[in-house]
């Protein structure tokens, strides 16, 4: 349990300024007059969403492979090779086995699945790693975004510290936009009472325009981003 300091005086002052008694419960969101976010790509098929996603990746400097399930190990191996192979760090996540790519990762010269036990050592390894590999939990077609929910074994550093981030995207995870991901998080909060400690919406490589408004790629996070879309549905 955490702590809360100075809340009552602070909030009483707000209520006072608003010219009414303090509201401690019973406030509901109104029925909003407009909700245009639900109309974006409404009714698009998985194949259409995939097309929108691929088009957007071009705008965010992200390369894309698409593959059938059966060819995934070869496609991933080729991508790893292209970006320099190892050292590579990846999540401890059942999907690596489910999609048959755990062995591809294991067979690299130097690779490690993230563990939460030794944070310092894993961080050092991720910092030194050439490539980090993750699985997208939800994928946003409109913005070319992979949404990563933190959980044990799914270290935040894997998509952040290495020079290259490769995200594996099952086609079944693609939704129109952030709206659907937000609705899912809202649903989890209502049903389970919690949300993941870190939800990352990642759209391509790290970049900056802070020097004369010119694009610089990879200022802090990955210099390259690569997506592999798996046609699982």
């Amino acid at each position: 349990m955490g702590t809360i300091h100075n809340q009552d005086a602070f909030l009483a002052n707000i209520a006072d300024r608003l010219g009414r008694d303090r509201r401690m419960k019973g406030v509901e969101r109104p029925v909003w007059k407009q909700q245009p976010q639900h109309d974006v790509f409404a009714g698009a098929s998985p194949a259409e969403l995939q097309e929108i996603l691929i088009r957007q990746c071009d705008a965010i400097h992200t390369s894309v492979d698409t593959t059938e399930m059966a060819d995934l190990p070869d496609v991933l191996a080729a991508a790893l090779e292209r970006f320099g192979s190892s050292p590579a760090v990846y999540w401890s996540d059942d999907r690596f086995a489910d999609f048959g790519v755990d062995q591809v990762m294991d067979s690299l010269d130097e690779s490690k699945a993230w563990t939460d036990e030794n944070r310092e050592e894993m961080t050092r390894f991720a910092e030194r790693a050439k490539i980090g590999v993750t699985f997208s939990d939800i994928t946003l077609a409109e913005s070319g975004t992979v949404v990563l929910f933190s959980a044990p074994g799914k270290g935040r550093a894997v998509s952040l510290l290495p020079e290259v981030h490769i995200a594996l995207i099952p086609r079944s995870t693609i939704v129109p936009r952030m709206t659907q991901a937000a609705a899912e998080i809202h649903r989890r909060r209502k049903e389970n009472g919690t949300v993941p400690s870190c939800v990352n919406f990642i759209s391509g490589p790290s970049n900056s325009a802070d020097i004369e408004m010119r694009l610089i790629v990879g200022v802090h996070g990955p210099i390259s981003a690569h997506y592999i879309i798996i046609e699982d549905a």
């Binding site: 955490g2 809360i4 509201r23 109104p30 937000a182 870190c198 939800v199």
Partner: protein, 476 residues
């Protein structure tokens, strides 16, 4: 730093801005590019006005129930192990942050870009207790290395610096020996900052939007530095202006979408990160998560005719279309919040005493109001300020006084005087026909600017026509 970035008189700041040719071309280039991207990305949606209505309604509902949502947020954050501190003043906020740093015996703090921490002067407070504080946003890092040069734009803080100046700063302060190619400069910053991220004891961020239903803090960046700051140090402190909150993740979606498109014309920035305190020390969650909620004058705005100013989501869209900002640059406003929103907000947070020129630093062309994604009636609020200032000054003489000061300044600065002379003719004609235009304060600005016609042209039409004219002028 605090909200105030200069003690020079207003006209000296403006004079410096106008005489800085590089800055002026950088500002106009950035405005064109950012505004162009915003226009494209909002047009693409096809329903931008519906989005604006929705965003406005969300912001209004949240402000009307701010006490409720802040309490819900604090309870949810604390239930999961977070520590929430409500700070009425900047001093209270800084003392709490100092106490956390001291308890952790921290020697190094690494920071992601945050306007509210600038506003409360947090960096100085941290240095006062002997702790190093490092800005990690590339633009902010450049300014920090350059002996704490103040920011001139809220999204692109080092906009007023060119790559040669940046190279010189790197060379002088960090023995940089490579070229002024932005990629190379960026790569150098990456190497330098990596070590700081890995060795910092405490990470400090701002907060784009807090989410009441889950006690979460969201951060919107392109560089990924906010992720570094929150994934690597063991203690995290997020500082938020008390109005930066939404009821649920569903409203977060809308406001983040509005922010990204309005600020930089992106559908989403490279990183949008939602962080929630967590008792289970899974993966990279910080061991301690503190959230400091700052009032610092905001509550005085609630319940007044200026309340809508608190709807601001700090996207800078108003700055990017402002013809006055375009010509005087960010430093002229003397505040960390420049442009139209700065001219509205700074006097509200800081009082009129040092800021009474700001509401007059506007041509009232209403481009800002049109650009605002949450529909703050910015130019109307500027008019309200003018009324209040005139009343406060006990008569209508203030505008005259301001104009006289401006004339005296321009007359003693030949470059500005020449600029003024060129446009004097058409301006006088236009002002003559403008109802209640008050030749006083307007005169200063119109000495260097032409005004849009008041006959009902849309600002953008006028602006495009003016740009066309300028181009033709340059060609001949």
């Amino acid at each position: 730093m605090s909200i105030r970035i200069s003690n020079d008189p207003f006209f000296d700041r403006v004079g410096k801005g106008i005489e800085n040719t590089f800055m002026r071309s950088a500002v106009s280039g950035a405005q064109d590019r950012l505004e162009g991207r915003k226009a494209a990305s909002t047009a693409e949606l096809g329903t931008w006005e519906d989005w604006r209505d929705h965003a406005e309604e969300i912001r209004q509902h949240t402000l009307d129930n701010l006490d409720f949502y802040l309490q819900q947020f604090a309870e949810n954050a604390a239930a999961q192990g977070g520590h929430v501190f409500f700070a009425e003043t900047k001093e209270e906020a800084n003392e709490y942050i100092q106490s956390v740093i001291q308890r952790k015996e921290a020697k190094k703090v690494v920071k992601a870009k945050s306007m509210v921490t600038e506003e409360i002067g947090m960096n100085e407070a941290i240095r006062d207790i002997g702790c190093e504080v490092i800005e990690s946003d590339l633009g902010e890092w450049i300014l920090q290395l350059d002996d704490h040069d103040p920011p001139s734009h809220i999204v692109v803080p080092a906009l007023h610096k060119n790559k040669e100046q940046i190279r010189e700063t790197f060379r002088e302060k960090r023995a940089y020996d490579k070229s002024s190619d932005p990629q190379e400069l960026g790569r150098f910053a990456r190497e330098q900052l990596r070590q700081d991220f890995l060795s910092a004891d405490v990470g400090i961020t701002g907060c784009n939007f807090a989410v009441a239903e889950s006690g979460s803090v969201s951060l919107v960046t392109n560089e990924g530095n906010a992720r570094m700051v929150t994934a690597l140090p063991k203690t995290q402190i997020s500082v938020m202006g008390m109005e930066r909150i939404v009821p649920t993740w569903e409203e977060l979606d809308v406001l983040v979408s509005m922010l990204c498109r309005s600020a930089v014309g992106q559908k989403l920035t490279s990183y949008v990160t939602g962080l929630t305190p967590s008792e289970a020390a899974d993966e990279h969650a910080p061991e301690e998560f503190h959230i400091v909620i700052v009032d610092n004058g905001r509550s005085k705005i609630l319940g007044t005719k200026y309340q809508s100013a608190l709807q601001c989501i700090r996207c800078a869209a108003c700055i990017n279309v402002c013809p006055v900002y375009r010509h005087v640059g960010g430093h002229s406003y003397g505040s960390i919040y420049p442009g139209p929103i700065g001219a509205v907000l700074t006097p509200l947070l800081e009082g009129y005493e040092n800021n009474k020129e700001l509401p007059f630093a506007s041509s009232l062309c209403a481009a800002c109001t049109d650009a605002c994604p949450v529909k703050i009636p910015l130019h109307e609020l500027l008019i309200e300020h003018r009324k209040d200032i005139v009343e406060h000054e006990g008569g209508s003489g203030f505008g005259e006084k301001l104009a006289m000061q401006g004339f005296a300044y321009a007359a003693s600065h030949p470059k500005i005087f020449q600029l003024g002379g060129k446009s004097a003719g058409p301006v006088v004609d236009k002002l003559g026909s403008k109802e209640g235009g008050g030749p006083g304060p307007m005169k200063l600005w119109t000495q260097i600017r032409t005004l849009p016609s008041q006959k009902g042209d849309r600002f953008r039409d006028w602006f495009e026509e003016r740009e066309r004219r300028n181009r033709r002028g340059n060609d001949s």
